[in-house]
Amino acid sequence: MLRYVLRRIGQAAVVIFIVSVVVFMMVHMVPGNVVTVLAGTDPTPEVVEALTKRFGLDQPLPVQYAKWAAGAIQGDLGTSPISGRKVSELIASRMGNTLLLAGAAIVLAAVFGIVVGVVAALRRGGWIDTALTGLNATILSIPNFWFGIIMILVFSVWLRLLPSGGFRGFEREGLSALRYLVMPAIALSMDSGAMIARLVRASVLDELSRDYVTVARAKGVRGAWLMRKHIARNAAIPVLTVLGLRFGQMLGGAVLIESVFNWPGLGRLTVEAIETRDVVVVQGALLYFVAVYMLINLLIDISYGWFNPRVRASVGGGE
């Protein structure tokens, strides 16, 4: 188990290293760097040279990378030349909002997915199953950012029930700030919810066809007992995996939904940085996303142990 965990951590480290190089190179391939942005439309050579020196762009790329990577390991992702703020501060200031939105969306998705999936599986082949499966297929095909726009149209423009976007935090508005959360959370949860529902249905049906479930039924086990003791635990593994991965992706910024609802999260931060060619922020944000995603992946892999007695038992042992 320990060896397995260490190997997974090693793999994640390799990926983060590759990604950091790629991100670094990528940003340096962007036509027009910090200098051209800051120097204005018609810069004198002196200004360009001064700026190039200031950002260390005259040094060889490996040196630049090493400096940047060394900083990143200590949590210093550099300073935005445009806003003059530290990238780590920028990320920290948006992280709470992204976490709130992603958390709300993943809870909605999980509740919807598990309820719909279990009901559909238990009514397999019946009209309820057909209806729910059709609903899922349709939801999966609706672009969530468009659905967000339609919600704005209905609830903000026509019914004037909910604010069309923005979020100023609980400190300023108290609990009524939740009104800003409703639509973006629903929009963001939709496709994940439908996907989870599908997966839950498939996993439950898969479990129902297992020999040990038939064996349990031959013992007289049925209903809620069967579900709880024999199906839920084994069916939960793939579902939790996908929930975790989806959450990881949402933490990487729900770019489109944040754009639609003007939600001050990490996704908007990155897109704005791309628009203003603020390469330092883009670098930092991308690296941060990948690190978070890899961390969640790692946690999922390790948590398999908790569900699989075989892995759990061998903690400290070999494979």
Partner: protein
């Protein structure tokens, strides 16, 4: 006495996208308290489905009609799942075939064993349940039950799991247990342990049991009364005694005649021609008539469905001419003389393994194996799972590199060859795999499959076409199958294709890896006969790996018995079967199901436990920890293969020469030819 279980006029059909397919048609039977009944049939005969219906366990896609399914006096044919659940596990319970999938992997063994008590007697305390689990595990002879109850299924070996499954079925104290192929997924020596256990338990608890099986040997061993099913119907019902000497249905008779047995050796098996029908109403008239030797051209067999007629106490047959069948002479396995084996002795050696070992890390799969096969000779290789027989086959094929030792094909060491030289050398030795479903590429037509080795070898197109024709004829397949895909063929036909492919390049050695074990009894006989023909005509050496000792006795000139990556005994087939000199060989022979109830013995030699982990092989003799003869010397010294008895007969046991001591381990009575 009123029957415990009575099924009246049961019919089952399955709804699928291809329409409705009937799999069971008008089956009625009753099981009395304490009675042991066997339900025998090949796959698709409807035997398992019938018993699942009798437990209310069929899925919703099944259409079930009956005049009653009565358990303990209650008719459950119209019962809801809730009502069924009250009966299942309490009055009737089931033991399933595969112990590897029958246990919930994420639940401890103890709670699984006591679960039927927990659901039927709600409110039983946790301590009480633990006690039930412990005692049940003790009763099925799981050592150290206190610890074992807290373990998970993965910590149990196959045999231990099946014991746990049996404990699970008995915990609710049912009056009747249904066992669906309870030993099929287990190794031979473990099978014998489970059979013994079930016999003890049914006697001690005065249980009624229904054993579903394809194996007539198991029936001969375990039950009092037999129900034979074919194409969804009961074709014969009889006490076990007369079944083997005076069968009353041509199908029963044909089954008896088509199985190779360990006790005797014959020439050709009497294979049943053709294939079983795919559904209960696929064949008009008697469903067996196209394959029946008694039907000949009789009109009535083709047009009229024979009813199940009772003709004597407890006996019934669904044959228009059962009297004729009864009057026929005693059924014989096979006809004619055993194939001559003398020719083999003077052929040149085509495959030779010398001191071959293969280690995968700590796992020592193969340890110093030496053997030789001559042209024209068939070497049978026997052993249980994990004994290294498949590893050995793959090393002989050049698919795996040995850790040590030499593999010589036609005198040339192939173990060090690489690249093109290895690829060319491989053509001299071909393999027929166990499962033709996975050994044939499902996206290729039969023609391309058989042609492939010749295409790779660079043969001319015309020559390939001619050879394909000849091969199809040699394996007995009609030419129109050449355009078919493997999925359109039956299992037996697919295996014929695999054999044709192996023959294509006229190799010097052919390795058969369990070629018949995925097939039904009646089809197995056809393939065994085909192999017999090949051995007569094709001029190669053959290695035949199998766990079925009957098949091995039938096809082999010589036998090698493997245990934990070693050859423990080898010799001419008759010498080895009639005078086994290694305790493990004796255990294997004693564990094989008997082939006639008259061979049932009061005392029989059953070894305990299962083979140890090949990563952790005992010192000295590898069999010593299971061997009743083991002494100090066995732990300290590894016995060499020494010459005993007949020429070429060798065994790796310190006591191989001590026939009196070996005789304390009784095996079957085996007649010499």
């Amino acid at each position: 006495m009123a029957p415990l279980l009575e099924v009246k006029n049961l019919s089952i059909a399955f709804r699928s996208f291809r329409g409705v397919r009937r799999v069971v048609d008008g089956v009625s039977f009753a099981i009395a308290p304490g009675e042991q009944v066997g339900v025998v049939g090949e796959s698709g005969s409807g035997k398992s489905v019938t018993m699942l219906a009798a437990m209310g366990l069929l899925p919703g896609s099944a259409i079930i009609e009956s005049d009653g399914i009565v358990i303990n006096g209650r008719d459950l044919s119209k019962a809801s799942d809730r009502q069924w659940s009250a009966v299942r596990g309490d009055d009737i319970s089931m033991v399933f075939q595969n112990p590897m999938t029958s246990l919930n992997p994420s639940m401890r063994i103890g709670p699984q064993v006591s679960e039927s008590v927990a659901v039927h007697r709600r409110g039983t305390s946790a301590a009480e349940l633990r006690k039930v689990a412990r005692e049940m595990l003790r009763e099925v002879a799981v050592p150290n039950p206190d610890l074992r109850a807290t373990q998970y299924p993965y910590e149990f070996s196959g045999g231990m799991r099946q014991r746990a499954v049996i404990a699970m079925a008995l915990a609710g104290e049912p009056a009747i247990v249904v066992a669906d192929e309870p030993t099929t997924a287990l190794d031979v020596t473990v099978q014998a342990q489970i059979v013994g256990l079930m016999e003890d338990l049914t006697q001690k608890r005065n249980l009624a049991s229904v054993v579903i099986t394809h194996d007539l040997g198991l029936v001969a061993e375990m039950v009092e009364r037999v129900i034979i099913m074919y194409a969804g119907r009961i074709v014969e019902e009889t006490p076990v005694g007369p079944l083997f000497d005076r069968p009353a249905h041509p199908y029963t008779r044909a089954l008896l005649e088509s199985r190779p047995v360990t006790t005797e050796r014959h020439g050709r098996l009497n294979a049943i021609p053709g294939l079983p029908p795919t559904s209960a109403d696929a064949v008009p008239g008697c469903p067996f008539h196209p394959r029946c030797t008694f039907a000949r051209d009789r009109e009535i067999c083709r047009t009229e469905r024979p009813p199940l007629t009772r003709f004597a106490d407890g006996r019934a047959s669904a044959c228009h001419f059962y009297e004729e069948v009864l009057a026929a002479e005693e059924p014989r396995t096979g006809t004619g003389q055993a194939a001559p084996t003398a020719a083999a002795a003077d052929g040149e050696v085509v495959l030779e393994l010398e001191d071959v070992s293969k280690h995968f890390g700590k796992v020592k799969a193969l340890n110093g194996v030496s053997l030789a096969i001559r042209r024209g000779e068939t070497l049978g290789i026997a052993g249980e799972s994990g004994c290294g027989k498949s590893t050995m086959a793959r090393i002989a094929m050049g698919l795996l590199k040995p850790t040590a030792g030499q593999v010589r094909v036609n005198g040339r060491d192939i173990s060090q060859l690489r690249g093109r030289a290895l690829r060319e050398a491989r053509r001299d030795i071909q393999m027929v795999f166990q499962d033709p479903t996975s050994s044939l590429d499902r996206r290729m037509r039969i023609r391309s499959i058989i042609a492939e080795p010749m295409v790779i070898a660079g043969m001319k197109r015309a020559a390939i076409a001619a050879r394909i024709e000849a091969l199809m004829e040699a394996v007995g397949l009609a030419p129109h199958y050449l355009a078919a895909y493997p999925s359109e063929l039956s299992g037996g036909q697919r295996q014929r294709v695999a054999i044709a492919r192996a023959l294509a390049l006229e190799p010097d050695v052919i390795v058969f890896d369990e070629p018949t074990s995925a097939l039904d009894v009646s089809i197995q006989a056809q393939i065994v006969n085909l192999l017999d023909d090949l051995r007569q005509s094709a001029n190669a050496g053959y290695a035949f790996i199998a766990h079925d000792l009957g098949v091995l006795r039938h096809v082999s000139d010589a036998i090698a018995v493997m245990y934990l990556g070693r050859i423990v005994e080898t010799g001419p087939t008759d010498a080895l079967f009639c005078d086994p000199r290694h305790p493990y060989t004796r255990a294997l022979l004693a564990s094989a199901p008997v082939d006639h109830p008259k061979h049932r013995r009061q005392e029989k030699f059953v070894v305990e436990g299962s083979p140890p982990d090949p990563a952790n092989i005992p010192s000295g003799c590898c069999f010593r920890n299971r061997c009743p003869l083991a002494r100090d010397i066995c732990a300290s010294e590894e016995p060499p293969l020494i010459e005993v008895g007949a020429a070429g007969h060798r065994a790796a046991c310190h006591f191989a020469a001590d026939t009196a001591l070996l005789a304390t381990l009784p095996t079957l009575t085996i007649t010499e030819q």
